[in-house]
Symmetry: C2
Subunit: 222 residues, 2 copies
């Protein structure tokens, strides 16, 4: 196999893959993915049951208003999160770092609805005033979200959860990650990880930042 | 600043940022993003004009059918790509690697509609039989896409481009990146890059793959 120069896959060959193989294969294709845990809460449950779930599908939707999207799959694990968000209208998004990626991965196990993944994995719920949903104390970048819209994607029965960023907490700061000139946050300095496929975790190494591209000049490093 | 232990930002402080600062800041929050170039073609133009645009918003939407999503911003650069996809119904998604990330970034400059970003940046269009849209020869993972749906996100006037994967080309192969047991593709071996914020490029280093998570056992490396 090491001497093959090119691999090619048609629609037909994708269709013929077995289901789990195809899931891993197709999940690898979009490129590197964000690694976050979504915290939510079920207030109707006795004692307010917290929920925590790993998502590799968090994506930037817009800066003004500040919006993030999440893809919710039609399965049991996703469903608990979606139910809580629908009922409470709030949730948190917490960056995964290299110190907690194993615990973050473990939140994807199919725990019963009565089990809090915080408790099961040993991560610590943390709260701020006037906001119901739990953050992950061990995360270095935490975002409080307010639900704006749940958009059904009919073509494959997924749901797009669209929320507005209402609070951001960045800590602890060994090195200030904010470039005060441009607003860029260097998430390398926060030890945030990237995900590929279903189960592959990565740290990153900066190649550099590039200047705003203009047609009449070559791009250069900032 | 190096001694601050925590930074916190409210809705109000986000609203008060100037527009470019906020764009860079909010774009950094979702975590690492995929780095792809979208190839498309305008057949109505004399000589069939190709277009190439960098997107950091390509995301996995589902494996069966195999679907990828792209967020198209309401601006001129995105618009050329969207117009072409709407008319032709096909496009390509091409992973950016560390050898071409500067050229990929340069495709975001506001070239006139008559300029092909392939020509302007020195990347090479490549074709396969029975598929109109151009691939990027220098990319190591190339995906042929068929448009399924353009979903308007009314809350911020963006468009979600949803397409089905109809062909995949992986090359060149110094090391076979496919785990034949599971279907996982090791995109580290393809030298694919990750993006953060508006302009920050990264290579990755694997922390490892983790086993399928189950409630009754701790996760372990595969």
């Amino acid at each position: 196999m090491e001497n093959v120069e090119k691999l090619e896959y048609s629609s037909e060959s994708i269709k013929n893959m077995n289901e789990r193989y195809r899931a891993a294969f197709i999940n690898s294709l979009s490129g590197f993915k964000s690694g976050n845990m979504v915290g939510s809460i079920d207030k109707s449950s006795a004692g307010s049951l917290t929920n925590l779930a790993i998502f590799s599908s968090c994506f930037h939707l817009g800066a003004s208003p500040p919006l993030l999207g999440l893809v919710s799959r039609p399965n049991a694990t996703s469903r608990h999160t979606l139910d809580n968000i629908e009922k409470s209208g709030v949730y948190t998004i917490n960056h995964i770092n290299s110190g907690i990626f194993k615990k973050a991965h473990q939140t994807s196990a199919r725990y019963s609805k009565e089990t809090s993944e915080f408790h099961a994995t040993g991560l610590t719920p943390e709260y701020i005033d006037n906001f119901e949903a739990p953050f992950v104390k061990e995360s270095n970048l935490k975002i409080a979200m307010k639900l704006k819209q749940i958009l059904p994607i009919e073509i494959n029965q997924t749901q797009m959860i669209i929320g507005e960023i209402v609070n951001i907490i960045i800590c602890p700061l060994k090195h200030n990650p904010i470039d005060e000139q441009t607003g860029h946050i260097d998430i390398n300095k926060l030890d945030s990880i990237a995900i590929s496929g279903l189960d592959h975790y990565h740290v990153t190494k900066s190649l550099g930042r590039l200047s705003y591209a203009k047609p009449d000049r070559p791009t250069k490093f900032i």
